[in-house]
């Protein structure tokens, strides 16, 4: 039945969106950056993962690991080469820093995209799924891999929640998103906190990219779409609200799946855009946002 198919597929896709969006929100909350190179980082992870598997012959798990590592490296590069220099630049007046960072990450994202397209062409790549086989959920034939993707995404989100809310290191991240000056007064170096945030983000985006490759496949031509989805979700959910991102991810994910199944696959990106427009006009702080 189509309805159940939508339910199942939608769940997995939304989970994947959620993972990416949570990372995006984390960076916004702690570093104040809307990273428009987000899609680029995800695709780098996907392609490196695919490359290690197909060209270097690594096993399914090792290639996933390499992919995530590549995502981490790409995130560091984004922060250290683009974001931080712009934030620290004295030639840019303070009010314009945000815009310059936005433009800078946009350019960096384009650079990543074109570099990947040049080296690897813009054909989509897929990674061998970590689990093979198909199960039947209430009559819907679902690849085991798809279930694993959803489970893994939620597992990681759960771990992240535990980290941020229950560990001391994680709480510094939370505190930084609330009151950076407060942290400085307590003897913390903010530069270290930012590095931690970007590290976590790199792993999250890398994992999201690798899972996307194993689930649906992705390529350098997708980078823009992935970034657009992530920031649509984050704005709809509320900039800085992690729970908002989760809710919005499911809203967007399900709407997209329904559109693809019930209307046409080409219309897929439309619902997210329309909801974004609605939210920005009617409730700019997002569904659960507080900033």
């Amino acid at each position: 039945m189509v309805g159940l198919q939508i339910l199942v597929d939608g769940f997995a896709i939304s989970a994947l969106y959620a993972l990416g969006a949570v990372g995006f929100t984390l960076i916004f909350g702690v570093s104040g950056v809307l990273n428009l190179a987000h899609g680029g980082i995800m695709v780098v992870a996907a392609i490196i993962g695919w490359f290690s598997a197909n060209e270097l012959g690594a096993g399914a798990y090792s290639s996933a690991f390499f992919g995530i590592l590549a995502g981490l490296a790409a995130a560091y590069a984004t922060y250290l080469l683009v974001v931080r220099p712009i934030q620290r630049s004295r030639a840019i007046p303070k009010e314009e820093t945000e815009i310059f960072v936005l433009t800078g990450t946009l350019l960096w994202g384009i650079m990543i995209q074109t570099a990947l397209a040049y080296k690897f062409t813009d054909n989509p790549v897929t990674m061998r799924p970590l689990l093979s086989g198909v199960v039947s959920i209430a009559g819907v034939r679902t690849p085991r891999n798809e279930i694993m993707v959803a489970v893994l995404c939620w597992l990681v989100i759960g771990l992240l929640w535990l980290f941020v809310n229950r560990t001391r290191a994680g709480k510094t991240l939370l505190a930084a998103s609330m009151n950076p000056r407060g942290l400085t007064l307590l003897g913390f170096e903010l530069s270290r906190v930012h590095l931690l945030a970007w590290s976590i983000y790199g792993v999250l985006a890398g994992l999201a990219g690798v899972l996307l490759a194993s689930f649906l496949g992705t390529g350098s031509s997708n980078t823009g779409q992935l970034t657009a989805s992530a920031f649509s979700i984050v704005v709809v959910g509320g900039l800085g609200s992690v729970s908002g991102s989760l809710v919005a991810a499911y809203l967007v994910g399900y709407l997209e799946t329904m559109t693809a199944y019930l209307l046409a696959p080409t219309l897929r990106p439309i619902p997210a855009l329309l909801i974004l427009v609605l939210v920005v006009y009617l409730r700019p702080q997002g569904l659960l946002g507080r900033r």
Partner: protein, 501 residues
């Protein structure tokens, strides 16, 4: 000679969430009169200006300009109706010259006009001359002195001959010589028949300049009348000084007079062109309790922020013999100089316990537990409310949490910036006894910055008085009570400050 009533304010009320910034305020200003509004920090003075100018909308009440209700008009309409405002911080167009900035103020709000009327240029020049900017008309704001920048703001505000002029802290950041010149300028506005509303912390300069004074506290009008009458009222002195100044007993232990734990020499802090601190020198001995007393705008926060490494400064700051300049702000705190700022900077969405834990982050686990237990003994209410979100605590509880969190760091020097801000007298008692207990149990060195002298006096070993970016007095609490009882209200030119500079 005062003329007809220009501005009427009745029942003006403004709430920001749960905080009532202005409560049922009412007053009149006539043509040819200067009304000065004074009051401690947080009394709502700036909010009143914003409400009159339409930058904020009142929740209740009205504002009438020559009989017309303007309370819900947009700012630009109010401006065109005849009210000019000089904001606390200068807001020039950075890429335009002084003349062009003033011309802007003379332009009509037209969409289609490409060329300004030739009169605009002529008028702009004459206005520039009138406020004393004739020589710098063709310079850009970055080349101007602070005083001239403020003059330009005045020029913009009076360009279209407004009926009412609002001045938000016109004396802030000005050098002493400029204050006199600005007072003359403001007097001239009045003599031209305008109604002038002035808000400032510099009570002495305000008292000398204005015709009438209105004193605000916590959003309400608590006194109004002629300057001399208001200034000598007990009620008003209480609001500023916090209560009767009493003799205090000396501490039994004498501090080590040789070594200075904290040494500040020749400290200067500038924000852009505004001078916040000038040639400040002070020191604190180990185990001492030193109070730095001064009104808002005197420079206490700048002093603390400079020591903490949060703002750039000129001069020397040494702690335990080590120069603090090369350290990052985080490093300064880790090295034992911990500030509990005026704004408290708590993590609102975290619990009391989580805030404290973050304070003790750099301690080894065993000491952390011990420190926490000690602090819970010192502030039992914090133990009760461990699991509560700090945002939901009362003002007094938040202040105690902020202090406790700072103490978790086992500071060598604890700096407290205006801990009594916005707190009720009964809470102040609790805070005072907690500080007393603290000093008795552990040898903590404390540097306290306060406006409320009654709170600052009892525990202090020494007092510094900070006024307009300079230290104007230093001595023991006894001497303070004897000499400085009227420091904020009377002319204190004849004080032996020379040897302190």
């Amino acid at each position: 000679m005062t003329g007809p009533v220009r501005l009427e304010v009745r029942g003006l009320t403004k709430r920001f969430g749960g905080l009532v910034a202005v409560k049922n305020l009412g007053f009149d200003i006539r043509a040819g009169e200067i009304l000065g509004v004074i009051g401690p920090n947080g009394s709502g003075k700036s909010t009143v200006m914003k409400l009159i100018m339409g930058i904020e909308r009142p929740n209740a009440g009205l504002v009438k300009l020559e009989g017309e209700d303007i309370s819900r008009w947009p700012s630009h309409r109010i401006a065109r109706a005849g009210i000019g405002i000089v904001f606390q911080h200068s807001r020039p167009l950075r890429r335009q010259t002084v003349l062009e900035n003033i011309k802007l103020a003379l332009l009509p709000d037209s969409l289609w006009r490409l060329a300004a009327h030739p009169e605009v240029d002529v008028n702009a020049r004459s206005i520039a001359e009138r406020v004393g900017l004739g020589a710098v008309m063709d310079q850009v704001p970055s080349a101007l002195s602070f005083g001239d920048l403020r003059r330009m703001e005045m020029a913009k505000a009076i360009a279209r001959h407004p009926k009412v002029v609002l001045l938000d802290e016109p004396f802030a950041g000005l050098a002493a010589v400029e204050v006199a010149a600005f007072s003359e300028l403001i007097k001239r506005f009045r003599d031209e028949g305008r109604a002038v509303l002035l808000v400032d912390h510099n009570v002495k300069s305000v008292a000398a300049l204005v015709d009438r004074v209105l004193v605000m506290c916590l959003g309400e009008n608590i006194a109004e009348g002629k300057a001399e009458d208001v200034m000598s009222s007990e009620k008003v002195r209480h609001v500023y000084l916090g209560g009767k100044l009493e003799h205090v007993g000396r501490r039994e232990e004498t501090s080590n007079a040789q070594e200075h734990l904290l040494e500040v020499a020749g400290l200067g802090v500038h924000y852009g062109k505004a001078q916040a601190l000038e040639k400040i020198s002070l020191h604190v001995h180990e185990g001492e309790f030193v109070s730095v007393v001064g009104l808002n705008g005197a420079g206490k926060t700048s002093l603390f922020n400079a020591i903490s490494g949060l703002v750039p400064y000129a001069g020397e700051i040494n702690f335990r013999g080590q120069c603090l300049r090369s350290m990052t702000a985080g490093a300064v705190a880790r090295n034992g100089v911990v500030q509990c700022p005026e704004t408290r900077e708590l993590f609102g969405d975290m619990t009391v316990r989580e805030n404290l834990d973050l304070g003790g982050h750099h301690l080894p686990a065993s000491s952390r537990a011990r420190q926490l237990a000690w602090l819970f003994e010192l502030f039992p209410v914090l133990e009760e409310r461990q699991a509560q979100m700090s945002r939901t605590l009362s003002g007094g509880e938040q202040q105690m949490l902020a202090i406790a969190r700072a103490l978790m760091m086992q500071p060598g020097l604890l700096m407290l910036d205006e801990p009594t801000l916005g707190l009720a007298p009964v809470i102040l008692q609790q805070l005072s006894s907690a500080l007393e207990k603290l000093r008795k149990t552990v040898k903590t060195t404390i540097l306290l910055g306060e406006q409320n002298v009654t709170f600052a006096l009892p525990h202090a070993d020494r007092i510094y008085v900070l006024e307009h970016a300079r230290i104007v007095w230093e001595g023991t609490p006894q001497r303070f009570v004897a000499e400085m009882g009227a420091v904020y209200f009377d002319d204190t030119e004849a004080h032996p400050c020379a040897d302190l500079q």
